[in-house]
């Protein structure tokens, strides 16, 4: 079995757990962070399409299991974003952490503002503009702070499983 998607799904599961804990403590304020955009960069930039699609779709299902959205909706949205990213990645810079962070920020923007559509009209209209802006700002800030650590964690976990993404990317048909 391909270890790539298993490692990415487990890492994303850890992110869901840590994000949940962060939101637990932020509930006092009340403010929340939304980190689904971090699921995409390693899969979108470094993996081939098939393991990336499996990893991202399953990660979306893991995230959806604990959220009040239709089950599978975030998974399909993540899969769509991954496919778009995969289609244009040959024209994008891919070295270093910055492109991954920028990609994650853009993906998070799309995913965050798609939430009201997934939740339905009555619930979507219930948030104040102030809360939306504060939560979105906090999410993007958390994403910038957590991103480098999370990408390194995924790459190190893959290395432990004997997968060297940097080498694979340079091979024919690879990401670079």
């Amino acid at each position: 079995m391909d270890p790539r998607w298993i490692v990415i799904v487990l890492a994303n599961g850890l992110l869901v757990f840590l994000g949940g804990q962060l939101n637990h403590y932020l509930a006092h304020l009340p403010v929340s962070v939304f980190l689904l955009g971090l699921f995409l960069p390693v899969a979108g930039l470094r993996l081939r399409f098939r393991p990336a699609l499996i990893a991202v779709f399953l990660s979306g299902l893991v995230a959806d299991a604990a959220r009040p959205v239709p089950f599978g909706s975030s998974a399909l949205l993540l899969a769509l974003l991954l496919t778009v990213w995969h289609a244009i990645r040959s024209r994008l810079p891919r070295g270093g952490v910055a492109p991954a962070i920028i990609g994650a920020l853009l993906a998070n923007l799309v995913l965050f503002f798609a939430q009201p559509l997934l939740l339905g009209g009555a619930v979507a209209g219930s948030a104040t503009l102030g809360r939306i802006l504060v939560d979105f700002g906090a999410s993007q800030l958390a994403l910038v702070l957590l991103g480098p650590w999370f990408f390194a964690l995924q790459e190190q976990a893959l290395l432990l499983m004997g997968v060297n993404l940097a080498e694979e990317a340079r091979q024919p048909g690879g990401a670079l």
Partner: protein, 278 residues
């Protein structure tokens, strides 16, 4: 063309096929997948919750003996006052049953209380939920009311093997029948909107025209007891203002909820003795 080549060349076609297959998947399979994934992640939340309890235990161990003696004395006073209230409640309950028998009124729904620790607070931008550390193992049904010493917490939305998800009072998904304390006329309460850095809110609709409230003279809002879910008279919050609706027939306004809702550690689930109540 090999499947791998097709995937590499036509990612959008593959995405379409995946989407179609997902849409065609039976609802039961999706439900099973959702429950399985939630249960798979539950032990991690449990572990974090127990770690917090342990942390609290060790922090309490640092308190001096004098502080503990003071707390024990306060608790003894509180217990004495609760003892008196329990006796008073028993007398009132017997009186109520006697009157219901005489007037042949339907009896009020009866509940048993199940105390549960909060595993995780999930107050996102658009939904406000709690995960509690009891589920089917404690006989908690979906739809059961949840309360704390400050009033209503919310309603059980989903039940799993050892956990349950509660829609909080401040969640827009929660709507219930409410009334002003001391007034029997019911109207509608809905959770939200929830601005940042301040206490949770709700809104009331279809309020009778002769009810007035302002920030200086707020009105206490309680459950109306209609619909069979929440018992009557449990505190929801305080109505801060009421304005005339555009149709001129009713008023609507804002309700400030208890600020302790954002930092709950323990709640009580009211499990109906007759499951058909829900």
């Amino acid at each position: 063309m090999s499947p791998l080549h097709f995937i590499r060349q036509r990612p959008f076609a593959v995405l379409g096929i995946v989407g179609l297959l997902w849409l065609l998947l039976p609802v039961a399979a999706k439900r099973l997948a959702r429950v399985s994934l939630f249960e798979f992640g539950a032990p991690a939340d449990f572990a974090a919750s127990y770690a917090r309890d342990l942390q609290q235990f060790w922090s309490l161990r640092t308190r001096t003996t004098n502080e503990l003696l003071q707390t024990a004395r306060d608790l003894a006073n509180l217990n004495a006052s609760y003892e008196a209230r329990i006796q008073e409640n028993e007398t009132l309950r017997e009186e109520l049953h006697r009157l219901q028998d005489i007037l042949r009124l339907p009896s009020n729904p009866e509940y048993r209380t199940e105390i549960a620790r909060v595993v995780r607070r999930d107050f996102s931008t658009w939904s406000q939920r709690l995960v509690i550390r009891k589920g089917r193992n404690a006989g908690i049904p979906a739809g059961a009311p949840v309360i704390f010493n400050g009033g209503v917490v919310g309603r059980v939305a989903e039940v799993y093997a050892y956990t349950a998800v509660v829609d909080l009072l401040s969640s827009p998904a929660l709507r219930l029948a409410a009334a002003v304390d001391g007034d029997s006329r019911p109207f509608s309460f809905q959770g939200g909107p929830n601005p940042p850095f301040t206490q949770a809110r709700g809104t009331v609709e279809f309020v009778p025209l002769d009810v007035y409230a302002s920030p200086e003279t707020p009105k206490r809002l309680v459950t109306a007891g209609l619909g069979g879910v929440f018992p009557a008279g449990i505190v929801i919050g305080h109505i801060q203002n009421l304005e005339l609706d555009t149709n001129g027939l009713f008023k609507s306004g804002t309700v400030l909820l208890d600020p302790r809702l954002n930092e709950l550690h323990e709640v009580a689930v009211l499990v109906p003795l007759n499951p058909e109540q829900l």
